[in-house]
Symmetry: C4
Subunit: 401 residues, 4 copies
């Protein structure tokens, strides 16, 4: 059998595998089989007792729809605009670290899948590939860049300038990562973005990794990519994940002044991520944000933080109609997207769902996740009698009894 | 042993089996053993995460009775009228597709059982036997016909005329099936109303079907009936289920104009099925419906739709006393019927309960289910001090703490 | 070993077994091991889906105490009066059928244990021993008689006269047994008060009963006592349980006229059992009851009936301070007793707890249950700072969040 | 291998074990492996059905935070003052009996760990080491003494004088132990503070204890310490635990007069422990308490008592800002501490968490628990945008939906 036909067989096998994935939960189960335990749990887990993680999902379930029958049901319109940018559906991909460990396609695969789906990828600062490479190799279209507050102002200024130069349209400033959340399963697994296989750890990890040969072979072929492509250390060298981890621990927290600082340097809209109260949403707007992302970091930071869908209405009411409110954390179904929009969100972002898709099929897996979301939204819109996602408002949902 | 005595033995064995079925849950368990997995799950399952399916049942449990003691307890009166038609109890059979796959008695068996029980069968458009055959072979009595909105106006007009001619008293227009619900277990099982056993699928399905020899032998003797008896395709030929499935996907949604269209053509009452809000109930009445069926299609269409018993009161209040409000979805016990009536329903319909009965005993199984419902209602009425189902109102129930 | 020392060994073994029983739940577990499955489930089970059975217990758990510290804590006073009769604690034994099947001590054992504990046994009409025997062999003290509404007025009149003559102080009229509840596990077990071992059933039951040799040997030595001692049939013969069962099915329901009829014939207080609403409590009082028992028959009659502790307050408010309100159904702990009294009950009755005690130790087992209840009440009173059960009121409990 | 290096190996092994303990739940699991079953359950269990024990933890989970982003995040300040005494964090160690059975370090280990952590140990009356020894061997710093109400006024007066002389700053009077709670698992285990291994019990217990060789060897080397070091009996001899147990049963309850009595004798603040209502908090203050500890004794006394975090707000409101309100029962996470402070507590006490730490590592284990609490609080403060624990108020939490 010649090489091309091997590729063809692989592609077909992947297609068949992805076809068998019918929802996000299937993707999670398949990712659990694919990834080494520590890596799977890094993606999957939440902080401490995972109270917020659990509440994120349950809070969506506590809302029911008020569907409408008998309406002229032309092809429902899923497209909307986010900060003036048209998207084919109200689902963006969330910035997630460690994606290149999950699959060699990594951040590039997520971004390309988002582009293919006609939506916006939010490329993370902690990507395994440089922001310029993403800009160069992802088909033209909107893309945003996500920024942490780094201690070194030169590093931050450099990232803002590079993102500007590379054509990123918006800058997403993450506010809820003052320190990493207390993810005990990661500590238990010895997972700290650092799975570099040296002589010693290789001996220890070998039996575990050997259970995941497909992942391992891909990982080795990708050169065991622990470096963060965007972030140079004080020595000008690209920083490896563990180094960044240490740096983060030293770093100061992001403040509203930092948001203003970014707004003054970046020639485009600034979005603030990690908002959970009306007061903070107002502060973000005062500091120059034109949009906020209601997020508890997928339950990975402060355990005991509220479910995002529960606090969304107070935030939407606080900022008024001129500020776009996005949401992430707990979105697993098209119906969750519709509920978030009915509660006032402009769009949502998916993080884990995209990462699970990436784990099982690289870029194609993320595309599958986005296709599934789109199909679920579309079907539910038809069943609800909703012709345009922009028509959603509080009258379409109800807190269930 | 001669053939008649074999029949006798079979009848006795069936009677013994049905006698051991004491409630709907028993019937479900027996149906699970009887039917091939894919078929059982088609009947049993709901859409997506089955949130609505679960809530349907739980919502009944969240209501408690306020029983009354010490009343003159003549034989309680279960009989009522629905659209002026007397029924022996406030339980009708719901229209369900695929019943002839479940058991050769199929739609005919359900209709005959309903007639035997003195109540109204709602015969589905997607029946495995023609509406005329049902009319001819079911003993005289009330029967309703259920209609989908088909793309082809001639097909719809034909069905209305045929139902009229065959003496169906009411026309039930289903509004909540714009598209099929996202029933992932059906997709996983490859179940799409199409279990035709050709050379290829037979080889694949054989080991599974062999585990259900009783069902299989009945199915083969019935000629593997995939055709829809009522619905001819554009070529005038009877349509097979898969073809209908494709057609449904192409079809436009039912609108209130369609309800008016049916009302103008059918010389009898029009009932609208699939209502979940007060607004839609009013729209249905404005379009000419004299009754509405509060239904979420048994949790099979929009996951996240509210439990029918939860929204029933607002709908009853909206349409006023001149419009009959029926309910289905989640009715598993006589007590559920009484709770629905206390919340304002005129009667309920049972779908899965009838299908499970059919699976285990054909017509006799459906009769058993209706007998069980009647006995449960009767006993609870005695225990509640209720002498007539028509006396039920909100004072008889309370939301439990 | 001589006979007396065998008895002594048996007594010691029993004492050791009972000592290991620390709460009602232990007794239930031990009764499950002791009794044949059908008999255990007859005592243990509830109607249909056991919603009411489960809610009975959960409703007690939903109340929390408001304990008071620092009070002079003389020996707490558990004693109270019920209808003017002093009892050593606010716990009576409920009337239960079939007790002689559970243990040869049967109704006599329950009554003697109640007398020994200084409280009131409510002796059931359907006892396995005559009301006169109970009166003769139970040490002097208060006792009540429980009455069903029988079809035959002579039978009822006879029972009232005999109870009067035998010195029963109060007559408890049960109102919630118009028909037996739908206890499906009893039907599944073929349990209908009729476990008579004839040639045929013996063969069938033998292997099961053989697993419970202690119970079986006691049962056979007791003469397989299926007859109801108090209830003669039309032929003047004592009626066996199955016959009574049939008779019950034919009987009319108890009405408020029947309560008046009993009040006019019985020279003592009439208590009405089975009340679940304020209206019925008022009706009972109007018909001559001086006390009511809030009861859902332990969840054995109407499934979906409310938990008694949930409806108790409305009933206490309705009848005012001159009518004693008792409660049963779901009492498993001394704390449940205290919660019921705090919500306005004068005392409670225990049914299953007594029956489980009887199963494991006859009269001594019932005494153990009453001792446990007393000890639990006493300890909790000390911990609550409550010196007299009569001081309990709504300020001592709160619905927990 | 020489002795010192064995010690060194042991210390390293312990350090490694403690490092693997990431939260209180890990410590509990490790303690379960370490301790004999009866001892583990004595520490772990609650009264009766453990309703209060379960509710204690769940009630914390029912509160969510309202975190604030973007604040200048200097090193958060965990330190506060309790009754004017500075503590490095708002977590004290609760008085617990039987600690010397858990580990030879016992009460001394807990006190030294608290001192090392810069916080206040509340040394129990029922300690296995004398209050003078604790005072002598624990590094200088604040410490409180906990007192029961003993029958013998000379014993009480002696304890007050000795505690005064030994420099204890505050006296904590426990009010909720009128009698021991009904801890059925202790009764089942034959656990009554008396595990003295005599010839007979040794034979019976040996197989069980042999499963816990590390604990057993430490226990034997410690001289099987059942004596209570602080409490002399009428004969002037130190009292063994069982004797005290009997004495407690005979003792009168603590009253508000006793609180006054202590206040008049002790030259320092009096704290009342075991308060669950606003009324009792006011009574405590009237009797001279300057602080109260809201406590249900960890769910070990009155089952059905409310969760402390649920009743905290009413108590804080009742006593006003001049009285310090502390809380224990159910604190398992730093987040629980923050929630308690947000609801008005000045600080919390940990009992089981300290005991589990003690079980697995003696003093070092308790230190580990306090370190974990501190790290969790610190991290969550950063994530919440909280710079000083003293700023916490009701605006920082919300009852979750």
């Amino acid at each position: 059998v010649s090489a091309p036909s091997l590729d063809l067989l692989r592609t077909r096998a992947l297609a068949r595998r992805l076809e068998a994935v019918l929802n996000v939960s299937d993707a999670r189960a398949a990712a659990r089989r694919t990834l080494p335990k520590a890596l799977f749990e890094y993606v999957d887990g939440g902080a401490e007792d995972e109270l917020t993680l659990a509440r994120n999902e349950r809070a969506f379930h506590d809302l029911t729809f008020r569907p409408r029958m008998g309406l002229i049901n032309a092809e429902p319109k899923l497209g909307t605009t986010v900060l003036g940018t048209p998207v084919s559906m109200p689902v963006l991909t969330a910035p997630c670290g460690g994606m290149r460990l999950v699959h060699p396609d990594g951040d590039m695969g997520v971004a390309r899948a988002a582009a293919a789906a006609g939506t916006i990828p939010v490329v993370p600062a902690a990507a395994g590939v440089s922001l310029e490479e993403v800009a160069a190799r992802v088909p033209a279209g909107p893309r945003w860049f996500q920024l942490y507050r780094f201690h070194d102002p030169k590093l931050m200024a450099g990232l803002v300038e590079r993102a500007q130069a590379a054509g990123y349209q918006a800058m997403v400033m993450t506010m809820d990562t003052v320190v990493p959340g207390n993810r005990e399963q990661d500590r238990r697994n010895g997972f700290s973005y650092n799975m570099r296989i040296n002589a010693r750890s290789a001996v220890r990890q070998a039996p575990r990794l050997a259970r995941h040969p497909a992942w391992l072979s891909r990982f080795v072929r990708d050169g065991m990519p622990f470096e963060l492509a965007n972030i140079a250390g004080p020595d000008g060298q690209r920083m490896a994940l563990p180094a960044m981890s240490r740096m983060a621990a030293d770093s100061q927290s992001p403040t509203w002044d930092d948001v203003e600082w970014v707004r003054d340097r970046f020639h485009g809209p600034v979005v603030v991520k990690g908002i959970l109260t009306a007061d903070d949403a107002r502060r973000a707007v005062n500091a120059g944000a034109v949009a906020v992302i209601v997020s508890n970091h997928g339950g990975r930071q402060l355990d005991g933080a509220p479910a995002t869908i529960d606090v969304l209405p107070e935030i939407v009411a606080a900022v008024g109609p001129d500020v776009a409110v996005l949401l992430d954390s707990g979105v697993r179904r098209g119906n969750d997207v519709l509920k978030a929009l009915a509660q006032g969100a402009r769009a949502v972002l998916i993080g884990r769902a995209a990462a699970w898709g990436l784990a099982i099929g690289g870029q194609a897996g993320v595309e599958r996740m986005l296709d599934i979301m789109r199909a679920q939204i579309l079907r539910s819109m038809r069943l609800m009698g909703l012709t345009d996602v922009c028509e959603l408002n509080a009258a379409w949902v109800e807190r269930s009894r």
